[in-house]
């Protein structure tokens, strides 16, 4: 699914990622953990194709294809989804209208007809129910005046609607109370299948109790310094990141 080889990237000549190697196969869940400033959010933005970031070395392959030349929307059409740490507000555009546009633009890019209104409605209802989203919520302006929890739930709702192949959840647990965390995780788990993959970026092990990863990677100073199974997350929770940092500098 996703294959990252020796990726170096940065912003305004400042190097942030310094040689990332990562392979994510269909059906897998990978967790990427690490202290603040280790490059977690940069990695997600670079995979999603944010223009401000410059890839200086290395390659990213999606289903065997080098995606260097693809714009952010083209990567989205290929099935990459990023749940934003800080979702933006778009005043006057409703949640429904936004997701409808996103789905139809993606279909159009694939040469498909627009989704019929009834099919769209059915799907919206189904996914809203999955994430315990109130119908009234869907007619509000996108992220405008949303609480932290509502924003994150809306991200996962969009993910459910778009059915991506590769979903990257960037700190989806931040700002969520325990009930919201359960609902969101439950939603993500229901969307998991043998055909798609999930990358969970988080500080804490808490989310990983709900979304259980197959692999855990620790990012430090732009490199993956340690990889392991879910037990690694528990170890990190217990010991903090300092021992990783020390190990990395040796």
């Amino acid at each position: 699914m996703l294959h990252i080889k020796n990726l170096h990237a940065g912003i305004e000549e400042k190097g942030i990622l310094k040689g990332i190697n990562l392979e994510v196969k269909a059906g897998e869940v990978h967790a990427i953990m690490g202290p603040n400033g280790s490059g977690k959010s940069t990695l997600s933005a670079v995979i999603a194709g944010k223009e401000e970031y410059e890839v200086t070395e290395g390659e990213i392959f999606l289903n065997g294809e080098n995606i260097e030349e693809l714009g952010a929307e083209e990567r989205a059409h290929e099935g990459v989804f990023l749940s934003f740490q800080y979702p933006v507000e778009i005043p006057g555009v409703t949640v429904t209208n936004f997701i409808k546009t996103a789905i139809n633009e993606t279909r159009k890019a694939k040469g498909l007809e627009e989704m019929s209104a009834s099919e769209m409605l059915k799907k919206i209802r189904e996914k809203a129910e999955l994430l315990e989203i109130d119908r009234k919520f869907l007619s509000r302006s996108l992220n405008e005046g949303f609480s932290g929890g509502e924003k994150k739930r809306n991200e996962i709702f969009q993910m459910a609607m778009l059915e991506p192949k590769l979903a990257i959840l960037d700190e989806t647990d931040s700002g969520l109370d325990i009930d919201a965390l359960r609902i969101v995780s439950n939603g993500v788990n229901k969307l998991r299948s043998k055909d798609n993959a999930v990358i969970v970026i988080t500080h804490y092990q808490r989310l990983l109790e709900y979304i259980v990863p197959d692999y855990v990677h620790v990012l430090h100073d732009g490199k993956i310094v340690k990889s392991g199974t879910k037990e690694l997350a528990l170890e990190l929770e217990e010991k903090g990141y300092d021992w990783i940092k020390q190990e990395a500098t040796i």
């Binding site: 194709g49 989205a76 990023l82 933006v88 005043p91 555009v93 633009e105 209104a117």
Partner: protein
Amino acid sequence: MSKYTEEELQKELETKEYEYGFYTDLKSDTFPKGLNEEIIRAISAKKNEPEWMTEWRLDAFRIWSEMEEPDWANVHYEKPDFQAISYYSAPKKTDPNKTLDDVDPELLEMYKKLGISIDEQKKLQGIAIDVVVDSVSVATTFKKTLAEKGIIFCPISEAIQEHPELVKKYLGTVVPKKDNFYAALNSAVFTDGSFCYIPKGVRCPMELSTYFRINEAGTGQFERTLVIADESSYVSYLEGCTAPSRDENQLHAAVVELIALDDAEIKYSTVQNWFPGNAEGKGGVYNFVTKRGLCETNSKISWTQVETGSAVTWKYPSCVLKGDNSVGEFYSIAVTNNYQQADTGTKMVHLGKNTKSTIISKGISAGKSQNSYRGLVQISPRAENARNFSQCDSLLMGNKCGAHTFPYIEAKNKTAQVEHEATTSKIGEDQIFYCNQRGIDTEKAIALIVNGFSKDVLNKLPMEFAVEAQKLLEISLEGSVG
């Protein structure tokens, strides 16, 4: 918005150029360039006007000759040479008594390109339409249906002949000849426009619509619209404008007067898409328009405008709230791109007690354009309990455009409540990236953000117009990112 709308929008996205920029080769009857008393007499004679009308025009011309072109607006342009314009141009072969079958086929073809059909399809949608090409009205549909209700909807030249008592009573009462430079010029030389009268207690059963088009080169368009809603009547009026793409600037100086008598309501919507000039700022229409409505007791006038075209716009649809409890509203979206300049807004003059006004202005600037909102809220000493709410929002795209807000408030009564809110925002890279990440490309993302920004005003337009307006917003802003 419906699925149909989105599809339509998508199609429009593919059309990059100003799509109304065609020129139709109609045989036309055009006066020599220049302006003097002789020309005015000739226009009046051409229109078979009664003596009083000729004198009215000549009086306006004398007033105009003494006036100077105003320069207080925040726009810069080369002043038009008023002697280099032809003040009368008419497509030949127009005869009001003829049926549509007799209309110049090229003219009909032009309507098709404009997307206006005077055929059955449009009739089903229940819109009566008056089309003004260059200087004269060429077709008014639905006259009979309207006549049954006592509604008069016809070219103003016809109204001068057939309803002189109404024209005499109201023409120039809301926008006097000496009101301003362009109003005076219009009063002297206007050649056509629409006239509408809704009798007492009648609710006009359909939207009335006028379509304006400047076709001939080197002509100006000076239309005059007069709408009178008698006591307790209601009318919704639509106005659309286009012009061919030409290198030279064309002048449009219209006057619109609305009169809402006691308990009447007028809703006046405009979608203005005159040629804005090309990407280098060459050509385009100078749009200098005076629009004003007079509200008597308990009446209401609502202006809604979507301004996407013109090289230079100078326009302030206003309400004089003369009667007690009268209501004035102004909803506006003004888009400027490339080198366009717009100075637009409104005046709400509160004279009566308990008068209310609402102003919602949305300015969108892109390219190297300048977009100004200029508004005046005036509360007179006897306007007890007058209230106004104004909201002016600006959206900027890129770093080379400008948005300006000039709100003037003059309150001379202590009971007045005046509120003004203003915001300026910029379409951010983060917003664009968020949309891109969801599979929405940048052009579409901008359209989405702009439509969201303009929603409060788009919602005020009649449905069919809202669709058209949405398309226009999208076309006007194409290629504005980068």
